[in-house]
Symmetry: C2
Subunit: 136 residues, 2 copies
């Protein structure tokens, strides 16, 4: 797996999420992909469950901001970011939705595992609402 392609897939993930393009995100994954977000919760298996997960996620009015460069190792990538909920560029949307929790930030690290076709076969997210969520 080419380093540049893995880095481009991570960049696409941020761009697509911030464009609320759940279908585009889903197409980054392989048909048999597994998403654990966060790790320790039941996995989403396959594109239908993954599409449903991201369709819900992008409706939250969240905006992702990467922190530091994407790390590459073998066929995996790891990257740190902050989820801005109900603020930043999508404030009006968040207000329209009348989010019950108000503005908050969540610190997350994700890992992607890639197959030879450049599709993500496994995503694991690391964050805990009691540790990594800050209400603003």
């Amino acid at each position: 797996m080419d380093h540049a392609k893995m880095q481009a897939a991570v960049q696409a993930y941020f761009d697509l999420f911030n464009a609320a393009d759940a279908e585009g995100i889903t197409n980054l994954y392989s048909d048999d992909a597994m998403v654990q977000d966060p790790y320790g919760t039941p996995a989403k298996n396959g594109k239908d469950e993954i599409r449903a997960f991201y369709s819900m996620a992008v409706k939250s009015g969240s905006h992702l901001v990467q922190e530091g460069p994407t790390r590459i190792a073998g066929n995996r990538a790891a990257f740190a970011f902050t989820v801005h909920v109900g603020g930043l560029t999508q404030e009006s949307k968040a207000v329209d939705m009348d989010l019950p929790m108000g503005k908050m930030q969540i610190d997350v690290i994700d890992t992607f595992e890639f197959n030879d076709d450049g599709k993500v076969t496994a995503m694991t997210a690391y964050w805990d609402p009691s540790v990594n969520l800050r209400k603003l």
Copy 2:
């Protein structure tokens, strides 16, 4: 596994590494622990191999600086940091060793998996020398 204990273990990892205390780092691990640094290279299995790995690593005169908060998920922690080689607080040591590569920085993300005793059973490091290493 208690969140605070996992966060404390990550902090201890940084403190012990920056004190060049390879034995202290080794004691953070369980007897049957596995270290993959970076992911995709042969694993170090068990405390003897792990001790040998960190004994070598701390001799490099490296200093670790965490970037952003430790992320917690289930029995795992993930954290981003930069390795400063041949610079920062240990400059004189690095110069003494006449490092062939000079000063450099490496961007890394590590994950720890913990057992019920609070020991790290698996460490996976994400970085690639062709992508995440910057010569200064």
